[in-house]
Structures are given as C-alpha cells and as structure tokens.
Amino acid sequence: MKLPVQLITGTILTGFFVVAVALSFFWTPHDVTILTIADKLQTPSAEYWLGTDHFGRDMFSMLMVGARTSIAVAIVAVGIGMGVGVPLGLMAAANRGSLLDEVIMRGNDLIFAFPSLVIAILITAVFGPSALNAILAIGIFNIPVFARVTRGAALSVWTLDYILAARTCGKRALRISVEHILPNIANLLIVQGTIQFSLGILAEAGLSYVGLGAQPPTPSWGRMLADAQTYIYSDARLAFLPGIAIVLMVLGLNLMGDGLRDLLDPRIRRER
C-alpha cells in the first residue's frame, strides 16, 4: 500500500495551523492588542520569536491571531457555497432541462460574471469594509462553483440503472437525490471543498490587503502584508512572514485535497 505522503504532509501542515488557531483563543506568546511602540521592528529573539512589527507587536502572535481571520472567513465562505450551491446543483440535476434547471444555470452564469473582488467592491461601496464583507463576497462566488460541480456529477449518476430501479420503487426526486445521488458524489464535493477552502484563504488575503476585508484592529495576514509594504526597504521580514504563512497554509490544504482525492478515487489508470 503506497504511503499517502501528500495526504499526511498536507494534514500535518493544515493541522498545525488549526491547532495554532485553537490555541490562540487561550494563549498567545504576547498580547496583540497592546502596542508597545518602544519595541518596534525588533529582530527575532528569545522573547519575540519572530520579532516585532512596526507597532511593537509580536509577529508570532500576530500570525496566530491572523490565522483566525483567514480560516474563519474561508470556512464560512465554503459553508455558504456548499450550503446553497449543493442543493441548487442537486435540484438542477434532478429536473434537468426544466425551467428550474435553466433558471439555476442562468443564475450561476450571472454570479460567475462577478469575481469575488467585484462582489466585495460592490458590498463595500454600500456597506463599508468588514470581515463579513469578505465572507459574503467569497461565499457568494462559491455558490455557482459548487452548484456547477454538483450538477455535473449528479447528472452522471442520474443516468445509472440503480436510479431507475429506485424510481420503479416509487421513490421521488428529492429522496433519490439525498439517498442515492449525494452519497455517491460526496467524495467529489469534499475534494472541491478543500480546493475552495484554500482559494478562500488566498482571496481573503487579497481582500484584506486592499482594505476590503477585516479592518484593524482585527489582525489579518493580508492587512499585515499591506502594512509591511511601507517597510519593505528597511525590514523585509515584515513582508516575508505573513506571506510564508499563507503559502504554508494553502500548500497544506492543497496537499490534503490532492491526497484525499487520490485516496477516495481508487481508479488507477495506466497509460499504454
């Protein structure tokens, strides 16, 4: 049995961040709400493991708390996407070719025309920037992603004989969707979920960077990068650290997603 290296590495990486976030609610090396300007821009030491930022805050603690924002936003956004998108996709597939299907597909296309950044811009223009903003923008864009993937996968299951068998047993579309279709496409949806999660982390970072996401004093990795830009000439460390954190987190998620996909899909194709 080939060792699932990807899956293990990915899970460890992701797990590390999840643990850090959980821990951050109880303990961080330093308190990020206190600005100690006197200690600003220090290099790593025993007291400040990764040094301090321009406000004297401990970088390590900042990263831990910032991880909260990234994960929270990304997870809720995936929740929105799945929670709305999957049922829509199932309904569209169950009623293929009907008006409902057309409407859902059209709706999908419409949302696809608005990248999450644009949605975030629209929401901010009216309601002002916030973390909720980011959640909505990314979440809304996730809906057609999941709807489309669900519909496609569901359609291919609908053509199978055992669905016909269920129909001859009098089962209706809703029941069939839940009892037969969903369990057989669940693997695909889980993998898509990890993909959207990692995309969500990246998107949240981008939105915070341009100021459309979580606002100070809530730390977020994107915001940290924006602040770091002014100091890039003198202390590039401020720009390195949050970036590397993002890369590691996303990498971990991607590896986990790939590993999961390989694990859940046992069809090994050999090329001739």
Partner: protein, 315 residues
Amino acid sequence: MIRFAATRLLSLSLSLLMASVVVFAVVEVIPGDPASYMLGLNAAPEAVIALRDELGLNGTLWARYFGWVTGMLAGDFGTSYTYRVPVSDLITQRLWVSLPLALFALLLSTLIAFPVGLIAAARRGKPSDYVIMGVTQLGIAVPNFWFAMLLVLVFAINLHWFNAGGFAGWENGLLAGLKSLTLPAISLALPQASILARIMRSSLLETLTQDYIRTARAKGLTRAQALRRHALRNAMIPVLTIIGLQFSFLIAGGIIIENVFYLPGLGRLIFQGITQRDLVVVESVVMLLVFAVITVTFLVDIAYAAVDPRLRSGR
C-alpha cells in the same frame, strides 16, 4: 456555427442585462438615496437637492435604470462626482494600463503553462514530472500580490533592473510601458500558469487513456506522435474553459496588483471611488469589469466550438 454564435450572443446580452440590473440595484437602490449617501451625514439639504438634480435622481427607478443603460450603450458613463469629468474619460485613461496588463499576464501564463504541462504529461512519473508538480504546487499556493512584493524586493530594490513601481506611460514608447508592466505581469502570471500547467497535465493524462489513443497506437503511431496528433487537441478543450475562468481572476488580481506597483489603472480608480463615495465611478467600473468577464466567456465558448465539432451541430 453561425447559429451557435448567434445563440451565444443572445446569451451574452441576456447576462449583461441581468448583471446591469444587479449592479444598479446594489449601487443605486440599496443605499437609499445615492445623493445623500455620497455627500455624507452632515451634508446641507440644499447640497443634496442640487446633487439629486445633477445626477438625474428625480425620475422613477425604471426611468433612471433605463437612462443609465442607454447611456452606457452610447458610451456615456455619467460624470464623476469627485473629479467632475466624464467617467468614460477616466476609464479610457486607466484602461490603457489595466487591459495591457491583463493581456500581458494572460500571454505569459499560457506561454509558460502549455509547454510545462505538456512536458509533465509526457514525462509522467519521471523526475522532471515530480519537479514540475512540486514547483506548480508551490506556485498555486503563493498569493500573487505577495509574490509581487518579493519580485520588487529582488529585481527592483536589489538588482535595480526595474522600477519599484509607477507607470512609465505609453507616450514614452512601447518598451518603456511594457517594462513597467513586466514585474506586475509576472506576478499575476505565476499562480495562473501553475494552475494551467497542472490542468493541462491532468487533461492530457486523461485524454491519453481514451480508446482513440489506443487506435492510433494500433495504426503505428509512436507514443509521441499519438500525443501530438490526437491527445493534444482533445486535451485543450477543457483547458480552454479554464482559461476563460482564469481571465476573470486575472482581472481581479490585476486590480490588487496595481496596488503593489502604484499603477494608475482601474484598480486605483475604483478604490478611490469607494473611499470618496463616488457611486457613479463605482457603478461604471464594476459594469465594465463584469462586461469584460462575460465577453471573455463568450469568446471561450466560440473557441470551444471551433475546436470541438460536436458542439457545432448542436448535439
């Protein structure tokens, strides 16, 4: 094919129409009264009334919407409240930065991704494949704006090959303009190229398992010939759709990247519009972005049909 293009064009127009309704609803309806929103809480009532007249906000919702849409079709995007100039002028200026950037990035990413994906698929399981997969795995995890900062650090600050920011302007020559856009385009292109390369690879590998590849081998084609003559074109089909989707991310990414490089593009315009509560500008730029995405989707559909004859006969 004509029929296919016509139906797609109809679809495009419908999408645009629906998008315009959404944008209008969000920008002009939700805030309540746009004029008082734009002027803020402490505005004098006369100023609000004056602005309402100026913006033509006294008509019914339908009339305003209709007026806005017909205006846009004629090229009139209204007048910016902050700058007091036609928005179309502002947009055209900035477009000359944002559009070339997006296209430059698209070109770079496809030029890199295709050969890389092809090599990885052809050398599957061999060391070069693992290296490529590793590098691309990293590439998709990197936020493009952070990568941009790193590029600035290395190539501008340390090596002085490029400027750290700013736009030289096309008036100073094509090369000068392109030079300003190089680092931004590369930082945009890297994650996209990584995604594309991986998709290219998996699409090719998937295609190589198809029966018609076996038929080709049975005819005497070598593995390389089968890949080139049969697998490639078929593998392109799903990749095309992804490129279309990627373009919308490129546009969004471009807006963020402009921030890193202080480029005077659409991004700067819209962020200023937000801070200054210039709803006219926000409305127009959003509509433009949406238009760009929808148009690219349309072009991708056409390209798709050009490559795959099954779509043309409507089956």
